[in-house]
Chain length 226, copies 2
């Protein structure tokens, strides 16, 4: 746990940018930064939701237990709030968050955060915008994922990692085959086969964990046609 310096923090959320300096002081007194290592659970489904979690740096998977096993709902890239809905929506967390790489999280007192919403309209509006935008992307992803077949689903998340997360055609895969299968709701074996297929066709290449997208247009096509 570190002593946060919220006022000077260069990684403030868009909402926090709208806080007054006295509000930032309050924040600073009601906030604790904790560092998580790869694989560490940040908050867990079924436990009490006691604090707002702000992902200052790092990469996190949000996941929940489904009927047949774990389901990865989305990846969250810093900077972003993590699971506002599970903190406000119920006393108990409905899903878990786990660090995929070393990550820095600021835990903010729920009361403090709520107070900002009540007293600072701009802050509240920014939080609402954030929740709304998240729902839009979630719905989009949901509609896509539920209608596409496996190759399309896998292609989509590879492109998503490339475009949204790493902004590069070459990146370290943050998920193993098992997690990939939890993400696109299939079996580990199918993921393994599909990645091999993509590699055989020269669409991607994999070296250990490093994945390179060689034919992005092909991947786009696979993703689109389902």
């Amino acid at each position: 746990m570190a002593n946060p310096e919220c006022r000077l923090c260069g990684l403030k959320s868009p909402a926090a940018e709208l806080l007054s300096s006295s509000e930032l002081e309050t924040l600073e007194l009601n906030c604790a930064q904790i560092n998580f290592k790869k694989g560490d659970v940040i908050f867990r489904e079924g436990t009490l939701a006691t604090n707002i979690a702000y992902l200052k740096s790092g990469l996190v998977k949000v996941h929940m237990k489904g009927p047949t096993g774990d389901k990865i709902l989305r990846l969250m890239k810093a900077p972003t709030y993590l699971g506002l809905p599970t903190t406000f929506g119920d006393k108990v967390n409905h899903y878990s968050a786990t660090a995929l790489i070393d990550s820095h999280i600021c835990f903010i007192s729920l009361d403090t955060f709520r107070d900002f919403i009540f007293k600072n309209g701009s802050f509240a509006y920014e939080i609402i915008l954030d929740l709304c935008r998240n729902e839009l992307t979630d719905y989009q992803k949901y509609a896509n994922m539920s209608q596409k077949q496996l190759p399309g689903r896998l292609a989509e998340i590879l492109l998503c990692m490339s475009h949204e997360v790493y902004k590069s055609n070459r990146f370290e895969l943050p998920l193993n085959n098992n997690e990939l299968s939890d993400f696109i709701s299939t079996s580990r074996e199918s993921v393994s086969r599909l990645l091999s297929d993509f590699a055989k066709e020269g669409i991607i290449s994999i070296n250990k964990k490093e994945l390179t997208i060689l034919k992005e247009d092909m991947l786009e096509k696979i993703s689109l046609k389902g």
Copy 2:
């Protein structure tokens, strides 16, 4: 279009209950009630999002175009806001809303609504709670739907209609087979076969559009095991 009487309205949202009487007057001046018949589109994907839509009475499907056809994202039962996220999150609607039965919608000026968020912390907080709770149920449904096979998915939405929407074991099916297939992402034929199967096994009975759940425990079991 009718002259709304927001102050006296007995169907105010939890958020609107928190408005002062002068704010309610403002609301009244910036609000119009429009009645939609079954099948009418309330707002359409790809068009400008200009107003907040509040579903005062009725039942609505929220749906968007997916890679292979329409996808029903959720049913919305009055009273509730319809598509706050698509109104705030972007200038353009990312999904559509269509009335499944005759429905009354109040359209509220976006500026007025935004003003309430800025100036009335309780109102803003209530809106945030609503968005958060919606995300929780959406995620739950997403995790379930993506891991279950067809019988489980169909059983789940029948139970959902029975428990959440109609609060009865007997109800008029608001969706035809085609729409059911859009909801659970399958083909119309599979829905038809499955409903026949359920009926043959005495789990449900269907008379025209009226569906009766005869063996709820069986349906629960099918829904759970996937």
